[in-house]
Amino acid sequence: MWHKPERIWRAFGTGLFLAVIGLGGSLLALTVFPAIALVTRDRDRRQKRIQAVLHRSLRLYCRAIHAFKVADVEMKDTERLKSLTGVMLIANHPSLLDVVMIMAAIPNVQCIVKGGLWRNPFFRLTVEGAGYIRNDQDPETLLRTCIDTLKAGNNLIVFPEGTRTVPGRPIVLRRGFANIAILGEADLQLIRIECTPPILHKGNPWWKVPATRTRFKMEVGDRLDIHNFLGYRYRSLSARKLVEFIEEYYTESHSHGCIGTGAEAADRFVSQPRGCVS
């Protein structure tokens, strides 16, 4: 199993890059972010600066993974993401690199992070400094916070699966993202991430790398107009229709390997609300 030097290099590289994100993150949290916080009193500008540093560092990180041939990292059509404001970025969640790739592709982006990070003073400086949203608030407050940040023009990453996908299992979505989109009337930018063969998935240790080099591929799909889903009598119905639609979208693109029919499919879906997208 370990006779191929290339594979040994990838196992070593995977560990190395995991360490880099931990150490690099701590280093930024100890040096650059406190410096920014010190010279930038205005909260919004501070957030923008910290986000910009994270964006550039993670872009470099993705390029390095690719350049050192630990994995192939391919990001398509990301130019379209740069001009987005107040949009929800919806993506499937096959790997640990998903959030890294999205942040590397788009500068002004917020995400929802584990409340536990606030207990560590340095992580706290980073996540709070960047304006990220903690997940341990009560659901209504969390919803309100997400809507507020979208209204302020920030983009918000949400992985509707809630947690990383287990390879081979059907995609089941939670409804929180739909409630945010419907109540905040925010458009959705669909993103599809592929990670083949799987690496760093749930329950798999980092050193168990697959036989061939993993390819991370991020594709930017269509932008979904939320107004297509607001026509229902109740918010609760709109949210359910949206969940159903996104679930089909990712299940379909999963099996057919295609993306990019989001808007058309949404039209079809809404014109026949009870039916399914064929």
Binding site: D138, P139, E140, N179, Y234, R235, S236, L237, A239
Partner: protein
Amino acid sequence: MTREEIFTTLSGYLVEMFEVAPDSITLESRLFEELDLDSIDAVDLVVRLQDLTGKKIKPEQFKTVRTVADVVDRVHDLLAE
């Protein structure tokens, strides 16, 4: 309203607002685990029940609600006040 009438009305709301399958609703059904309501749905349901009872419902009164029977009881108490 009797408890039966409240149950029937409530079942109607669950079907209409949350696409719950009618035959899955019993007094014992758990709203969140079995009928797939989320916390934002619960807020909407409380608003709807306020219209029904004509009384202001404090969120605390519904915080402990778990099953359909719990909702029926709360509504029944409210109407009896």
